[in-house]
Subunit: 226 residues, 2 copies
């Protein structure tokens, strides 16, 4: 599957052209599938291969959005490999919106939107999803609190009473799942969330890494709503 | 947390000694926690640091096994990074037993038990689990079929009727979850499983990578049994 931002050009991007020619070794006349990340896919015939591949569309298909309304907000993990893997898994499992949170204990502030988008597109191709999830960068906790009415907050502080994730039978609309960063939310942040009537969530006995917590929450919500 | 196979020696392994001295920069008199992977942990005081760290045990604690009876069998993913990540996540989420399956479409046959054990120990430390899960290497599908009465089999073949994972409310005892490899189970393998009354499982609309399917199944079972 190839990604295109504008199928009307009949032209693959230079990166997709390279992939088509060098990796998949496609030939003129071969059939390819394209998608635009907004629910439309195309069957096309390659009319030129090389540094610039061109194609002619044979068939257009419109897909219903398969997304569950799952929105997760998390501080980016420090290690790039963990970040990449987390994005891949969340997209594969069908996340609708992913927000990168800046928190007091966040260890990484700079993000590379181009790299992240590449990961997202690649995971969409793998899992045959025709809609790219929405990604928000560097959002503050304050912004989140102002925008959402249901703040399901997963953190490790043992002194705060929590509700087990199993008790959230039907996640409320306009809900967001906040995942504590490496180093967890600070006491001030937890206080701020408490004042905003956040529901503090218990993910079970094991102490999960931040990206594992996100993948687990995504899996549980997929299981619950599939 | 440090791992020890025999706490009576009062001696950290050379690797744990290096970690203790060079990474954590511990000093004589500092308190450390050790675990033996079989449910016992120790609080000890360091009596020497350096290439060989020694300690004296102050307190011994016995832990109840937190494991769910989850047993997953999967062919090892081809890429080492995916393999490492999968092991880490399954252990963090509390897997009890992990079997590496050799299948017709398996892309990797050689495994490095030492590397795998390292991953497992590291994930146990991270998630504060005092029992190491059991790992089986290079098991054939035939062996699995002979040993288990409930074979929950996740695969991508669209021509075979499946039961959605949500319908498995209480996974049967002596159950094993088989995950299709990259390239899926072969037709012959699926036939063999069918004859053995395997239950074919549907994981939902998205086409998941093999390691994502394993992590999703583990997450769903944790969610179901926590």
């Amino acid at each position: 599957m190839f990604y295109t931002t504008n199928s009307k050009t009949g032209l693959l991007s230079s990166e997709e052209s390279r992939h088509c020619t060098k990796v998949l070794r496609k030939n003129v006349g071969d059939s390819i599938e394209l998608f635009d990340g907004m629910g439309t896919s195309y069957i096309a015939i390659l009319t030129k291969v090389g540094k610039e591949c061109t194609y002619q569309i044979e068939k257009t298909e419109r897909h219903k959005s398969p997304y569950k309304p799952v929105h997760i907000a998390i501080a980016p993990p420090k290690k790039a490999a963990r970040m990449d893997f987390m994005i891949e898994k969340l997209v594969e499992l069908g996340i609708q919106k992913l927000t990168f949170l800046s928190t007091q204990h966040s260890e990484r502030s700079r993000l590379n939107p181009e790299r992240i988008k590449k990961q997202v597109i690649s995971a969409c191709k793998q899992s045959k999803q025709y809609y790219l999830p929405e990604i928000d960068y560097n959002t503050s906790l304050k912004q989140i609190i102002e925008s959402y009415t249901n703040l399901y907050t997963c953190h490790c502080n043992p002194n705060i009473t929590k509700t087990s994730i199993q008790e959230i039978k039907t996640p409320a609309l306009n809900a967001i799942w906040l995942i504590g960063p490496e180093g967890d939310f600070s006491i001030q942040e937890l206080e701020m969330l408490k004042e905003s009537k956040a529901t503090f969530i218990d993910l079970g006995e094991q102490r999960l890494r931040t990206e594992t917590a996100a993948i687990y929450v995504m899996s549980a919500l997929k299981y619950l709503t599939d």
